[in-house]
Amino acid sequence: MQKQRLMLIFVTLLTIAALLVIVRFPTRLGLDLQGGAQLLIQVKPSEEITQVGERELAAVKAVLENRVNGLGVSEPIVQTVGTDQISVQLPGVSDPQQAERVLGGTAQLEFRKQRLGTDAQLQAELAVRQGLLAQQEQLRTSGDEAAIAANQAALERSNAAIQALFEPAQPTPLTGKYLRDAGPQPTQAGGWEVVLRFDAKGGEIFADLTKELAGTGRTLGVFLDNVLLTAPVVGPEFAETGITGGSAVITGNFDAQRANELGIQLRGGALPLPVEVVENRTVGATLGRDSVQSSIYAGVGGLILVLIFMVAYYRLPGAIADLALVLYALFTFAAFKLLGVTLTLPGIAGFILSIGMAVDANVLIFERTREELRAGKTLYRSVESGFYRAFSSILDSNVTTLIACAALFWLGSGLVRGFALTLALGVGVSMFTALTCSRTFLLTAISLPELRKPELFCPNLPKS
């Protein structure tokens, strides 16, 4: 009895915790439910780079992140998939066409000279952009689409204004195709700098460019997809020959992270790797909402039918199983939120299905209990051995389902994985609720004299 009281307290605490989690944590809805565009971008090898490796993929990802930021979408997700694909999720995007167009091009890196006498303007514009970027960061977390779009428009104007302060490089533009490599490097003073290496031709153009700029105070603008990445000043000591030898360092107040970021961005621009949008799944916001609603209605409807069936067929244990089932739904939902599981349509299906599985364990136990009762055992012994005997069936059947889930999760793609994860989580939680909650409730119930009646467990029991 002591043990059951402790378990009851434990389950109650768990329920309270689950409710708190459900109230406090946000529900993450997949794009198929909240609407938005999901693009899969294939990185293709080029003539120069015949193999897309980890380094190249990271560089292309950085380029795509830049572009995604330029779209002004709240909470975008950019992830690498496998060895040569990048998945981009744009929740609530209003113009999938534009997104696809912007993301699908090859990166453009360009080095440009600042125009004469634009120093003050550049400083002012950079400050404006800094402010807008900080603001955008804040807005993204707020999710206010209209404000984000307005701020994005301002950012674009600011970027255009900055671009106007630089001249297009003439006669030969220095572009990413001449850049061999770029990356962070520690300085002797303990800081960080970014090294650039050009090929022979690039080295020449770079020397010419820097010769012109050296000592004038004009900066060398490095643009990725027409957005200024950095604008270093060329020191007066290079006025004679420019920076020769095909390599250069950009110094500044870099920390390791920022130096690394700039290195990746530069490499991304240096990569002449074409990208292609190979998959685009866009769901309108309202359409998504409708599917959530009808699926939730269906799920709840199905659940209610199951609850009714259980009471009608199994009587008191059925009612107890129902209680455990409701707890199961609460726990699983809380676990989804706690683990940050993104709910997709198949995910909801997996959840609803796992309700069916959660019932199965109870059905197994109660059928066993009835058998024992029919065999003439006492109520307490019957309930105990019902749990005991059913355990191996429950374990084996759930493990086989988990094996299938593992295969799906391991080998499946996005949607499939969501389904596998929710189903597996559900199976795990259902074992817990069936074996502990149902058991505790049942044992507590039969400790009350008014509930200790075999006919509440098994109708038409032959009188012994």
Binding site: N280, T282, L303, W410, S413, V416
Partner: protein, 323 residues
């Protein structure tokens, strides 16, 4: 109610064979028509599907259903083959157009042309799916791989927990369930134009993980009964085990299919056929556990066991190979 599964096993086997055979015939016909055993959706063959719904909040927009011929005209005017155009919804205010893979510009042109001719369409109710052919193949390959890995995992686990011949017949039952489900969808593909998408592969895998449950529960009972009664005849043991677990089999199938039935009837369009596949698979799963896996096991043990019976099972591995 008491089932004599062993006595009537040939009858049950015939039913399954008939269902599977008709499915296989449907798959063969599908193969000739679509080059695939089931009518493949965009997910597997690649292409673009555009689903648009009219914006009915504005006055004078949704008085008449969309004119299918006009949609075809617009599509053709864009230089695209109007292969698969369907009207959607009870009011016929939605349209779904499936074409070869469109570039962004082609798609934009088509969308604005449709909007001008038949619109205005509601961008919030628009669905665009573009899948490259490579993706479709990846999906199919990864799906089949997952299926094979799941099979292998289940065989390994069941061999560990039971014996190899149990595991083998559980897998036979699984093939049965997968074939029945796929067969029904092949027939639906031919008669009702139902396409299978990546969710169908998910459904098959779920059926695999799920319907083996039933088999395991019966096996568990068989094993337990053998333990209590080591000299009993296997036929009688299997018969008794099936009957002891029958109520559970029926009830569980009922409680799992009830929510699915709810989704089939009231859920969103995407999940409808997913739910249908699962319902068919689960019913086939319950059937195959009772009438296929257990009867085959009894038949096999009856043949291989010494007449005195008992638990003298020799090298289960070689049994499996010889079957």
């Amino acid at each position: 109610m008491k089932l004599h599964v062993i006595q009537q096993r040939r009858f049950w086997w015939m039913i399954s064979l008939a269902v599977i055979l008709s499915g296989l015939i449907a798959m063969a016909i599908s193969w000739q028509q679509f080059g695939a055993p089931l009518r493949p959706s965009l997910d597997f063959v690649g292409g673009t599907r555009l689903q648009l719904e009219r914006d009915c909040t504005q006055p004078n927009t949704c008085q008449q259903p969309i004119d299918l011929a006009k949609v075809r005209q617009v599509v053709a005017a864009q230089g695209l083959s109007a292969g698969n155009v369907q009207l959607l919804g009870a009011e016929r205010q939605g349209v779904s157009i499936r074409t070869t893979t469109l570039t962004v510009d082609q798609r934009t042109a088509l969308q604005s042309a449709l909007d001008a001719e038949l619109g205005p369409f509601d961008p919030l109710r628009t669905q665009i799916d573009t899948v490259g052919p490579v993706i479709g193949r990846q999906l199919l390959v990864s799906g089949l791989m997952a299926l094979i890995v799941a099979f292998a995992g289940i065989i390994a686990y069941l061999t560990l927990r039971f014996q190899f011949d149990y595991a083998f017949f559980a897998i036979v039952a699984l093939f049965h369930d997968v074939l029945v489900t796929a067969g029904v969808f092949a027939i639906l593909g031919l008669t009702a134009g139902v396409e299978v998408d990546s969710l169908f592969i998910v459904a098959l895998l779920t059926i695999v993980g799920f319907s083996v449950n039933d088999t395991v529960v019966i096996y568990d009972r068989v094993r337990e009964t053998i333990k209590q009664n080591p000299t009993g005849k296997i036929d009688a043991i299997v018969d008794a085990s099936v009957n002891q677990t029958l109520a559970r089999s029926i009830n569980t199938t009922l409680t799992t299919t009830l929510p699915l039935l709810a989704i089939l009837l009231f859920g969103g369009a995407t999940l409808k056929f997913f739910a249908l596949a699962l319902i068919i698979g689960f019913i086939a799963g319950a059937y195959s556990s009772i009438f296929i896996a257990s009867t085959l096991l009894a038949w096999w043990r009856e043949r291989s066991e010494a007449p005195e019976g008992g638990q003298s099972v020799s090298t289960p591995q070689s049994e499996g190979e010889s079957s």
